[in-house]
């Protein structure tokens, strides 16, 4: 068999996946760039240049949307890293109920996000919600978790962290388990305590895992939609609007070109943040 035919033969195996990728991912993605430049009614379109982008940037709630999206992405990432790491270390130590606790921590991931949103909606009801009823029994008047303008976004962030920390923990557990036992032994022989172990061995060597968590949480946070929609629909007013919920509302009102332009902007924003962060994090990884 000659070299060339073998290469063709190889390509054939790539073809089915390639075709599916083209039809379902590449083509819609590329055509969205085109439709973002049009006034589109799903059946016909008029080319209007960059008007959609101009209109999107003059959207009243856009500045709230950008601010909330960044707050959301960075806070959820930070909490997931901190709690995920703490739980990861705890659940790799020699405790009896380890497997059970791992399952418990991971459990929220098995439930659909929308279901979680609806459930927390009722748990966080200011007068009838379980959370405030519990607080009332210990003498605290709970706030309106989702109605208070200053608190609503933080409430959604709290639920997101509760739900997402399981995945972070699992990644950290994998990272920590991969650290060879000898390093810890060596440190013990040199007289290091548990904090030294954490600071000088676990923390530097769990870096790859941490980077994965950061990147996943950051991208997830920047383009989050389902949780905030099922909990607050961007409200009260526009206080918990994220970029994605603004885009969805525009889509729902039938402004297909405008919302597609919004998605192109969201794509650019996510890439503009995720790629530099990724490169920065990778440049600081240490080899085992």
């Amino acid at each position: 068999m000659t070299n060339t035919t073998r290469r063709h033969y190889n390509y054939l195996f790539l073809l089915p996946a390639g075709v599916i990728f083209f039809i379902f991912f590449l083509f819609p993605a590329l055509s969205s760039f085109f439709f973002s430049l049009t006034r589109w009614t799903l059946t016909d379109w008029t080319f209007i240049g960059l008007d959609n982008f101009k209109m999107f940037f003059s959207e009243d709630s856009l500045s709230i949307g950008f601010k909330n999206t960044f707050i959301y992405a960075f806070l959820t990432t930070a909490f997931k890293v901190v709690f995920g790491l703490a739980l990861g270390i705890y659940l790799t130590s020699a405790i009896r109920t380890r497997d059970f606790l791992r399952a418990i921590i991971f459990f929220p991931n098995l439930v659909s996000t929308i279901a979680i949103g609806i459930t927390f909606n009722s748990l966080m009801h200011p007068s009838r919600g379980v959370i405030n009823q519990f607080l009332a029994t210990i003498g605290i008047t709970g706030p309106d978790w989702l109605g208070n303008v200053h608190l609503a976004l933080l409430s959604v962030i709290g639920v997101d962290v509760w739900k997402g920390v399981g995945v972070a923990t699992v990644i950290f557990i994998a990272g920590i388990s991969a650290i060879p036992e000898q390093y810890y032994e060596a440190l013990s022989i040199d007289g290091g305590n548990s904090f030294d172990k954490f600071k000088h061995i676990t923390l530097p060597l769990v870096r790859p895992a941490m980077n994965s968590v950061i990147i996943l949480a950051l991208i997830g946070g920047l383009r989050l939609f389902d949780l905030v929609w099922s909990m607050t629909k961007g409200g009260p007013g526009f206080t918990t609007d994220l970029l994605s919920s603004i885009i969805y509302k525009q889509y729902g009102s039938g402004f297909y070109g405008l919302s597609t332009a919004g998605n192109v902007i969201l794509f650019l924003v996510v890439s503009a943040i995720a790629f530099p962060v990724y490169r920065f994090l990778n440049s600081r990884e240490v080899d085992l």
Partner: protein, 437 residues
């Protein structure tokens, strides 16, 4: 050379896939049409899951008994999600034979000329009021048949509490605020807010349109042409100020941002809350869920401080539209004819007590009419009504619910909210390609 080969192969495969899909689709539809002859005709009707299901079920049953044509109900989730479902199904050709949807400005967004059957030539159109027909007419073609009675927006109140506290129906906004103060001092909720369902927050703004229409008769026309604005028309700005007064005086239930439409009905029925600014569609829920308290509920128009003016804003009935590209257009036309016939309307009223005057001529009301409906009909009899803005212009701010929640909870000032509302309408006008924007 190599490159060319693989490119060709790729091209061939991409071309083949749609062909095979097409073939598969063809087979399917062949099968369906072959089975048609011996099976009964089945019409599909897409409705909002929160609306008058009982009425449509009663119609479906009566229509099947009469003609043997089965009507199957399909449900969409309502509000923004529901509109997405409808628009997507229309665009992909998957729409049901019959569609229940708003009349007025929202109809325009569905591209009726392309999607719906023109009913202008039907004989029953003569029996239908012009005020309704206008709202479903695009380019001189009539596209819908009316569902249920005309409805009003205004204050539904608990008569029992009014009697207990010795209150009278307020004719001015200040008198209304005084009543609210008395109710608040009596330890009850004066004004029920249910902003968790954000659309309910719009009612103060929408129900106030009677006063705009009376003071600035050409507002709607100028609004469509980008010449009149909420922020710069004092009569129109008034509604936003009403929001501010209510929230500042603390007349709403403290959990108004967490309260839903359903909970608000419970509070109004029990008398825990006394006023609820809503449309008469609320009577459906109240009469089904609180049959023992429904006779305590009355209605009066949302008042204003303009001397001598007091009236209510009317919602023209929603419509059923016939899918032009459906398989059963003929049966669907029969269905529509039955639906607006005296017989059909009797069937409808057996499932739902009427909530106001019908737009079909010659409808006789039953005797057991609700007290609130008696209050409502008075406004029609005295001609103190104006259609809601959404029936006079295709321009409506898509973010209207959120803007009303903001001003209604004190997050923004009335003027800011009105300006925001005006800016928000621009998107809608541009999408519809209206002149002047």
């Amino acid at each position: 050379m190599k490159k060319k080969m693989s490119m060709l192969l790729l091209l061939a495969v991409t071309l083949l896939i749609p062909v095979s899909l097409f073939a598969a689709g063809q087979q399917e539809s062949d099968g369906a049409s072959a089975g048609m002859s011996d099976k009964p005709v089945v019409l599909t009707l897409l409705i909002d899951k929160t609306s008058q299901i009982d009425g449509f079920e009663a119609i479906a049953k009566a229509f099947e008994e009469k003609t043997g044509i089965v009507t199957e109900l399909e449900f969409q989730p309502g509000s923004i999600e529901g509109e997405n479902v409808i628009k997507t199904r229309l665009a992909t050709g998957e729409m049901t034979d019959l569609l229940y949807f708003n009349s007025g400005s929202l109809l325009r967004s569905l591209n009726p000329e392309r999607n719906f059957v023109d009913l202008s030539a039907e004989s029953y159109m003569e029996r239908i009021a012009d005020s309704y027909k206008q709202t479903v007419t695009v380019n001189n073609k009539i596209f819908g048949v009316p569902v249920d009675a005309a409805m009003v927006g205004g204050i539904f109140y608990n008569k029992r509490v009014y009697k207990e506290l010795g209150l009278e129906i307020p004719m001015t906004w200040d008198a209304f605020m005084d009543n609210c103060q008395v109710i608040k001092d009596a330890g009850k909720t004066a004004f029920i807010g249910s902003f968790k369902d954000d659309w309910t927050a719009q009612l103060i703004l929408l129900a106030d349109y009677y006063y705009v229409q009376q003071q600035v008769p050409d507002f709607a026309e100028k609004f469509t042409k980008n010449e009149a604005k909420y922020a710069t028309t004092p009569a129109a700005l008034e509604a936003f100020k009403k929001y501010k007064e209510i929230v500042e005086k603390g007349f709403m239930n403290s959990d108004f941002l967490a309260t839903t439409y359903d909970e608000a009905q419970a509070r109004l029925a029990s008398g825990e809350g006394v006023h609820y600014d809503m449309g008469s569609w609320v009577l459906d829920g109240l009469s089904v869920n609180y049959p023992d308290q429904i006779n305590d509920i009355g209605f009066f128009a949302q008042p204003d401080n303009k001397p001598g003016l007091n009236g209510t804003t009317v919602w023209i009935p929603n419509s059923v539209y016939l899918n032009k590209n459906g398989e059963n257009v003929k049966a669907a036309k029969e269905w529509a004819e039955f639906f607006v016939s005296p017989e059909g309307i009797d069937v409808w009223m057996s499932a739902f007590p009427p909530k106001g005057p019908f737009v079909v001529k010659g409808v006789e009301f039953p005797d057991n009419i609700l007290p609130a409906v008696k209050d409502i009909i008075k406004y029609f009899d005295e001609d103190r009504t104006a259609p809601a803005l959404e029936f006079l212009t295709p321009v409506k701010a898509p973010n209207s619910p959120a803007i009303c929640v903001e001003v209604g909870s004190g997050m923004t000032e009335p003027l800011k909210a009105a300006e925001k509302y005006d800016r928000d309408t621009e998107k809608q006008a541009k999408q519809l390609n209206l002149p002047g924007w």
